[in-house]
Symmetry: C2
Subunit: 306 residues, 2 copies
């Protein structure tokens, strides 16, 4: 007979979102859509109005779980001038985690839980908000040695509530991983586009699917891209060097190996993982994620060869 | 008062497509949809059956404009065993033009017109055929010093009939251009995927939009990709070196320049170009294309700052 665990019945904490652009506006809208009260704030009145129209209560008094959904360069000052409850848990959605941990994390101590939902697009601003943005996305959530596990679970619950799957990571692991799968792709896209621009109008006029796909991401706001790659410079340089090693290999081998990675069939095997830092991080390192929280466990999956 | 030119009234020549996979099957289906009789042949009975079901007359006796829509490694032998009319114009859809000119072009002389529609996807085979594949696509068509202009116009007419825009190029110009905008993107995608595969399961589990877009094209059949990059090795090496020079620049500059290329607004200005090799090639070099054939001119456009 299968063991049964009760679903936790503690009330979900209130959520407040600071920054109501694409990611913050989408999160606030998704939580409203899930029937949860959400407060929000943005320095831009147009972003506040758009969020208010979606049912977000505009306020500068924030409590519960406070989500920093602002660009990296202003992350450290995002709470300036706002009234934040002394026991609030603070998380962020920034694309680099070590620098945020060094600034916001140092200031807030155990109350800070760094996070990064893997679902932005090349669009930005409140007009790009979409309550379905997080459905099925992975959401990296940092479990540092000093992270308060109960606060980590509160933030994880919000990610799960909007349809994401939570990947437990350290900030260092996160930054190395996203250098390989996000920050280097932005630089490759920029280099591909810039080189084609130099090749001239005939080349650009013949550009089709492979060029469009290979360069799409550099359509993103260049200020955001610069903050991201420069904020994660050492892992990005290392990951770029690994791509350049690949480019030096014989093309036949390179093409075969690259094809194998993108076409690999990957199954999933359900697992239960105790609410314990090492076990959760091990789940993340294996390529797994948390899909549900139970009383003393989380449910999730690990990859399984199909 | 605007000059008026009569639309040519000569009958469109019959078309025969050899190879009924994604590109050939799409072209045959598009021509059938345009009300034109089309013959076709493929060594694979399943591809023949699929084309026959779309209204293509399956035959080994080919005349008019014969389109070689087979993979590069078998291009030179694609007509072996088939009965081709002695005055047929032969064109191809291969992604590299100098090697095809050196083999098929040398064998057929002035009867050969090299071509390359810029619209493949990462899919292949007859199940990926789509009669709408060419709508709005650029179709590079080679005008070498020895090309018979009337045969070139016959092939151009077929490209225009399925909704493509014809870019006059030399084989050498084509191969340099596609190295920059297609062959290098395939290698970058392979290197990005292979490096992320080495980075491990956490990195792959966090992969999202920028990784998917940046690697999509290496989902293509690796044998096709190898034939393409190895068949255009010198221009591809040179274009890859130019991308690597870009990657060595300060990231802030690189990101800004790449962003500017992909977000550049580009208008179009209508032009008429006389049916003359130098003028047509000049149109292609400027980033323009032919959109319609008149009696003594073609109509087309050149890029215009928006």
């Amino acid at each position: 007979m299968a063991e049964r665990f009760p679903v936790p019945t503690m009330p979900a904490p209130p959520v407040a979102v600071v920054g109501l652009g694409q990611l913050g506006g989408s999160l606030a809208a998704a939580l409203v859509a899930a029937g949860r009260p959400v407060r929000g704030w943005d320095v831009d009145p147009a972003a506040r109005d758009a969020a208010a129209a979606r049912g977000v209560q505009i306020s500068q008094e924030l409590s519960g779980v406070v989500v920093l959904a602002v660009p990296l360069p202003v992350m450290a000052t995002a709470l300036d001038g706002l009234a934040v409850a002394g026991d609030a848990t603070v998380t962020d959605l920034g694309s680099v985690k070590r620098p945020v941990l060094d600034t916001v994390g140092t200031a807030l101590g155990g109350r800070f839980v760094g996070g990064h939902p893997m679902c932005g697009t090349e669009r930005s601003g409140h007009t790009a908000a979409d309550p379905g943005l997080f459905a099925g996305a992975r959401w990296a959530l940092c479990l540092e040695p000093g992270t308060d596990l109960s606060r980590w679970l509160r933030v994880a619950e919000i990610a799960l509530a909007v349809g994401a799957e939570v990947v437990p990571v350290t900030a260092a692991e996160h930054d190395d991983a996203v250098a390989a799968i996000s920050h280097v792709p932005h630089l490759l896209a920029a280099a591909l586009a810039a080189a084609a621009g130099q090749a001239g109008p005939l080349a650009l006029s013949l550009a089709a699917g492979s060029f469009r796909d290979g360069t799409r991401v550099i359509g993103s706001d260049p200020a955001f891209v610069r903050a991201m790659v420069e904020g994660n410079a050492a892992p990005t340089s290392a990951a770029l060097a690994r791509v350049q090693e690949q480019l030096a290999r014989p093309w036949a081998e390179l093409v075969g190996d690259g094809h194998a990675v993108v076409t690999r069939e990957q199954g999933r095997r359900s697992v239960r993982v105790p609410l314990e830092r090492a076990a959760l991080l091990s789940l993340g390192r294996s390529g797994g994620a948390v899909t549900r929280r139970l009383a003393a466990f989380v449910e999730g999956y690990v990859p399984d060869p199909a």
